[in-house]
Symmetry: C2
Subunit: 165 residues, 2 copies
Amino acid sequence: MIGQFLEDFAVGQTFRSGRLRIDKERIKAFGAEFDPQAFHTDEEAARDTIFGGLAASGWHTAAITMRLLVDSDLKPAGGIVGAGADEFRWPRPVRPGDELRTESEVLEVRPSRSRPDQGLIKVRTTTLNQHDEAVQFIIANLVVRRRPTQRGKETNITELVDRAY
Amino acid sequence: MIGQFLEDFAVGQTFRSGRLRIDKERIKAFGAEFDPQAFHTDEEAARDTIFGGLAASGWHTAAITMRLLVDSDLKPAGGIVGAGADEFRWPRPVRPGDELRTESEVLEVRPSRSRPDQGLIKVRTTTLNQHDEAVQFIIANLVVRRRPTQRGKETNITELVDRAY
């Protein structure tokens, strides 16, 4: 598998994605399966809620953000593997027809103390709509491989995440 | 809409969900749509990855967690409306056939300084598999209505989240 190793990342690097449009039917279908509340599933009933109309589930926004990242130039060797996030916010609702894109910046690059074959990068990703308004912020910790010549024994994800925190 | 108002929540309250089984086909379908990486979409190719086999996208786990919460006894008036999260971790992969459930605890209950009609509760939710192993931790900030007799003018979600941080 090719891609970027820990040694290829540096603080301040940025990555941008393409765009994905979120339509009304997908908002409702995602809502029906995972977040069945009126503001995600029913346009009429949504009007009398805090959202004042149909809005995507925040988890739908998060999932679309992941899709945008996977399709972007951020390509860690071994894949985009998240151990978790330090901060996560939805400052504004996502509406039917919105077109989303992401901007990411590397905040930290850190080899693992206990595993010579791995490291962590901290990446802040902002998801924006077509008006360049932020709809999601996340600061995620991603597990990244070190360059193979410097690798020792492979570890598994559970051991690695245990050590990361 | 009925449900729990800010005044009905107290630090230390706990809520438990039912169970939801996550099957292989849904893991792959979610992966194909939102997180198209080998370890979420292809059993064979997944063996040579950090996960050592097919695993659900963390966003699928998060979405199922939301579904479990919506179906649980945690029923804030106005719905479960997340402003964001302070901490978010996936300590262990979710595998095909796993049965997930949630345990939630209220950590903080706080009226809004600027909006007499609203408040925030901080809730830690652990998602567990059928072996009682944690697969996700999240500490989320939920927007909750105050009891109507104490409400002033309604606000909208964007204003509210702006003020929450």
